[in-house]
């Protein structure tokens, strides 16, 4: 069995002085819950990178939300020593995000590696996002080591899933390693296989330095910590570095490796992975995918694959209590420091007041950010229905980009183009019908279907992004008893017959409820929304018509009848205190109403109308 690296040999693999042949850079491709963090924990322990007494579960997941949701949002690199046949090696594990929204960051993490562990739960088999990331790794020519995890589980079926993995990557089922991150069984073999199967990095040690940023994290005390892989050349402390996308130059205040706590080093040599601290305060100045070079002898050509972060999904965030607006602004300013893909600008809604229009990489990104705002900054927020980016060409040839339905142009529209995605869905074959039906109703076009094994199918659809940002994933899960998984990636734009549906209360448009939908779905959206609002808005002193309209054409109508009785008939002596307290409570409730024209709309109505759930029918029956 391979021992831990002894103190004498450690010198041979000290940072900046490790020969590339002794370096292995790898990542772990895994689905949420398939045990990546637990396996990583075990590796940290077995290699001695983390002392037993310092060990805590999911060591690498830094944010509470990550730990609670069992997902890794941001990656990080850890250097671990390992000895095979008397030779010490430095293993750099690059922890990749596990969600579809962060596929660009995944691609950069993969680009920093020569190999990947394909980690699959032996009781569940591969999931769509894992498959997508596997394909990405294979395209990048990474060496793939298939690993079945959780073999200690009674429900584990390693034979079945070894077969599936072997089919996918073209190896023999026996090549699949079988481990238990929980018990540690098989983990040493994984470490040995990393050394034997994954190629050492290759780069030109004499060339001008080129380091690829694969992660960038804001730290309150140290500013931005930038994680890099040195592709060519080397970097040393106190030299000046240049970010090639912007040309900005910074002093290198600290350079080092994480093992997993940060340790400053004498530099980073070719093929190595580590971190840089330059004193910048915003991750936007140190963007994932960018190339870092030396300011004195800079490289001429940046590394391939850099992309500006591009929000795909937009939503308005509004504080329920209007006086929280400054808190929300400050919170976004802080979160932005650590999130290069978060975009926002002030937005004013007649219905919801002051807030921000925010752009996200995807729905999870939105949810995670919203969660953090509510949890870390104690904010109560309303988020409007997510929207995508529409490009509109008018008859007169003018063009506009619409990320907010309320900005949809009026006048003669020649063409509207909406973003499309390539979606991959993995499902047990018994649910093929349900999945296809769902995709069909969401305007999907079938692109192909392959059996991964006798009872698991990969279905590929081309779908409008707008159709999957609302509740597609929830629907997919519920129609497949939770078994299906989804991955999607950008696939250009298509022209579509889209219209904006407005909702009007007593003739006044309520901007928060406007939506851009396909003409075929406009009627059902209008009926649904008008019906929801009729149930959610309390009766007023006058009749309130609710209308759904496309332009000036009314497509659905509901009426909230005027209230006729608003008096408690009984008022004995003993009721007076109770009655006064009820009056005070009602007046307090009135303060939480938003006035839309002359109509009082409770905050709850906005929240409920904008959520995908049906209003609680039981509660409705009571009132």
């Amino acid at each position: 069995m391979s021992p831990q690296v002894n103190a004498g040999a450690l010198k041979r693999i000290s940072p900046s002085a490790t020969s590339p042949e002794l370096i292995r850079n790898f990542c772990i491709i895994a689905h949420i819950d398939h045990g990546k963090s637990t396996l990583a924990d075990r590796m940290l322990q077995i290699t001695g990178a983390v002392e037993q007494r310092d060990m805590r579960a999911q060591y690498l997941d830094r944010m509470d939300i990550e730990r609670e949701r069992g997902i890794t949002i941001k990656s990080q690199a850890v250097r671990m020593p390992w000895d095979t046949d008397g030779t010490p090696y430095a293993l750099n594990m690059i922890d990749t995000p596990g969600h579809v929204d962060f596929s660009y960051e995944v691609s950069r993490s993969l680009a920093a590696c020569e190999g990947a562990l394909l980690l699959v739960d032996a009781a569940q088999g591969i999931e769509a996002q894992t498959l997508a990331n596997l394909y990405l790794a294979m395209e990048n020519d990474l060496a793939i080591i298939p690993v079945l995890n959780k073999i200690d589980l009674p429900a584990a079926q390693p034979e079945k899933y070894a077969e599936e993995l072997a089919n996918l990557i073209g190896c023999e089922p026996e090549d699949c390693l079988r481990v238990s991150g929980k018990t540690g069984e098989g983990v040493e073999e994984v470490l040995d296989r990393i050394i034997s199967d994954i190629p050492a990095p290759v780069g030109d040690p004499e060339a001008p330095a080129r380091a690829m940023i694969f992660d960038s994290v804001y730290d309150t005390y140290r500013g931005v910590v930038t994680y890099v892989r040195i592709i060519d050349g080397s970097l040393s402390p106190r030299e000046k570095v240049t970010m090639m996308s912007t040309g900005s130059t910074h002093d290198l205040l600290e350079i080092g490796v994480s093992s997993p706590e940060p340790h400053a080093s004498k530099g980073l040599g070719v093929g190595e992975v580590g971190y840089l601290i330059t004193g910048v305060k915003d991750v936007r100045q140190s963007k994932v995918g960018d190339t870092v070079t030396a300011a004195v002898k800079p490289a001429e050509i940046a590394l391939d694959g850099y992309r500006e972060p591009k929000p795909m999904v937009f939503s308005g965030l509004f504080p329920i209590d209007g006086s929280d607006y400054p808190v929300l602004r400050d919170a976004l300013d802080k979160l932005k420091l650590n999130d290069a893909s978060l975009a926002y600008e002030p937005e004013t809604s007649t219905a919801l007041g002051f807030g921000f229009r925010c752009g996200f990489l995807g729905l999870l990104h939105l949810e995670v950010l919203r969660d953090r705002l509510e949890r870390e900054y104690d904010l109560d927020l309303i988020s409007t229905a997510p929207s995508v980016i529409y490009e509109v060409t008018m008859e007169d040839g003018s063009e506009s980009v619409v990320t907010n339905p309320s900005e949809y142009p009026t006048g003669k529209i020649k063409e509207v183009r909406e973003p499309m995605v390539k979606a991959t869905i993995l499902t047990p074959s018994e649910h093929i019908g349900a999945v296809m039906e769902l995709c069909q109703t969401r305007r999907g076009k079938l692109q192909g279907m392959d059996y991964l094994s006798s009872d698991r199918v990969e279905i590929r659809y081309r779908l409008p992004l707008a159709e999957i940002v609302f509740d597609f994933f929830d629907q997919l899960k519920s129609k497949t008893k939770g078994y299906a998984s989804l991955d999607y990636s950008d696939d250009g734009q298509d022209a579509a017959d889209l219209v904006k549906v407005d909702i009007l209360l007593t003739g006044d448009q309520v901007d928060a409820f406007s939506a851009i939908v396909h003409r075929d779905n406009a009627y059902s959206y209008g009926v649904l929304m008008a019906g929801k609002l009729r149930k959610l808005i309390p009766r007023q002193q006058f009749e309130v018509p609710i209308q759904a309209a496309i332009g000036s054409r009314i497509i659905a109508r509901e009426t909230i009848r005027a209230i006729r009785k608003d008096v408690l008939s009984k008022c004995y002596g003993g009721d007076i205190s109770r009655k006064r307290k009820l009056l005070e409570k009602q007046k307090e409730g009135k303060k939480r109403m938003k006035m839309v024209g002359s109509v009082e709309v409770p905050q709850e109505a906005f929240i409920a109308a904008l959520s995908s759930d049906e209003p609680d029918s039981k509660k409705d029956a009571k009132k």
């Binding site: 209230i563 006729r564 009785k565 009984k570 008022c571 004995y572 205190s577």
Partner: protein, 410 residues
């Protein structure tokens, strides 16, 4: 049963803050006597009442009068201490529960106990609530002899299936006889009605009104059924076994009631109360609504003396235990500040015909008043003369108007 309001804990000796006595001479004094017994508990009822004969040592029905006397003693002492004692009592009301579950002699005895401690006005109004089943001519005669002037009869409905849903056990056929006995004994007759019971049709309600008004009735209280949480009916509605009363149906029935009453010569004087004349109004309830002083005796009873509201322990056993120990049975109280008293004044007066003077409302309220007139909620002519008189439609939306008007209280 609703919980008592939250409030501070009053002193054990029952003493009142000095502020309670301020201006007492200008306020009337009323007494309320709560009799917490019933033969059956009705499914909709959230009043403080018990069906068991014996509720533990010192809390049986036989002990009731003696315990009440202890509270009467305590009240005279507490009122005298703050200079609010030396006043004529203008009204007394026995409510429940079913006061007439007690023998007529016991009620008469309680009247004696009251007279022994309080000075009653020569024209004092003395009312008891009564269940039609519990009355006969001799019972009524005993009450009349003891000084009772008024009986409020719990008729509720004339329709058997409605009474059954309400768990009322009396025979509706008996109402005309009982009503006649009351009138023959020289007492004023009030009937209590409930509308909006699940399953009650519009015709059912018309029928109840017709039967009620065919008697020589002086006064009618008509309350919409309120489904209270914690009652049997509340649970049935929650489980979906009974429908929640529909607000539009209640509004229809209110309008039907008002026009039937008017046709029979009864005029509204409070949102839920109609009388043949000013003289036949329920003065005791008017005292509540005008924020007069009243002392409530008995388990769970509420009192109001000069801006201090307090309330007794609810269970008869807890009430009697405290009295037997020489302590006050009050378990909570509120000392109202001026703006809260003003809010209560508006909240109560807005429900009464011609009670609220527009001049007494805060500055800035004129706009609201003119809106109400425009919306048809207030009578225009009285409003022009400075009086708040809600229209039929306005009576049904009184709480809405009160919410707006109380915004102008400083």
């Amino acid at each position: 049963m609703p919980a008592q309001p939250t409030g501070e804990t009053p002193p054990l000796d029952g003493s009142l803050p000095a502020s309670a006595g301020e201006g007492a001479a200008e306020r009337g004094l009323s007494l309320y006597v709560h009799v917490p017994y019933c033969r059956v508990r009705c499914g909709y009822c959230d009043f403080n009442t018990y069906t068991a004969e014996d509720l533990g040592p010192g809390a049986s029905r036989d002990d009731y009068r003696a315990n009440l006397a202890r509270e009467l003693d305590l009240s005279t002492r507490a009122l005298a201490e703050v200079g609010a004692g030396d006043r004529e009592v203008s009204t007394i009301f026995f409510g429940g529960g079913t006061p007439t579950m007690l023998a007529a002699e016991v009620l008469a005895g309680v009247m004696d106990d009251i007279r022994a401690r309080f000075r009653l006005a020569p024209d004092v109004e003395v009312t008891t609530e009564a269940n039609p089943d519990t009355l006969d001519p001799s019972y009524i005669a005993t009450l009349a002899g003891a000084g009772f002037t008024r009986i409020s009869l719990g008729m509720q409905s004339a329709v058997p299936h409605v009474l059954a849903t309400l768990d009322r056990t009396h025979d509706p056929e008996k109402i005309p006889d009982v009503a006649r006995w009351i009138k023959e004994a020289g007492l004023e007759l009030s009937l209590d009605l409930i509308y909006g019971t699940p399953g009650e049709s519009i015709d059912d309600w018309r029928r109840s009104l017709e039967v009620a008004l065919s008697n020589d009735v002086d006064h009618i209280s008509a309350y919409s059924l309120i489904v209270e949480p914690g009652t049997k009916m509340g649970a049935m509605v929650r489980r979906g076994e009974l429908p929640m009363p529909d607000e539009d149906d209640l509004a229809d029935k209110y309008e039907i009631a008002d026009s039937a009453m008017e046709a029979a010569g009864l005029h509204w004087y409070e949102v839920s109360n109609w009388s043949t004349s000013d003289a036949t109004r329920c003065d005791h309830n008017m005292a509540y609504w005008r924020n007069a002083d009243w002392w409530g005796f008995g388990p769970g009873a509420h009192s109001h003396i000069g801006g201090v509201r307090f309330w007794n322990a609810k269970h008869p056993r807890a009430w009697s235990d405290r009295l037997l120990a020489g302590d006050s049975p009050a378990v909570g109280r509120e000392v109202l500040d001026d703006s809260t008293r003003e809010i209560e004044r508006i909240m109560l007066a807005a429900r009464i015909d011609s009670e609220l003077s527009l001049d007494s409302l805060g500055s800035g309220s004129q706009r609201a008043i003119s809106d109400f007139v425009k919306q048809g909620l207030l009578e225009a002519e009285p409003a022009a003369k400075g009086l708040f008189v809600p229209t039929l439609q306005g009576r049904l939306l009184a709480d809405y108007m009160v919410r707006i008007l109380t915004d102008y209280v400083n």
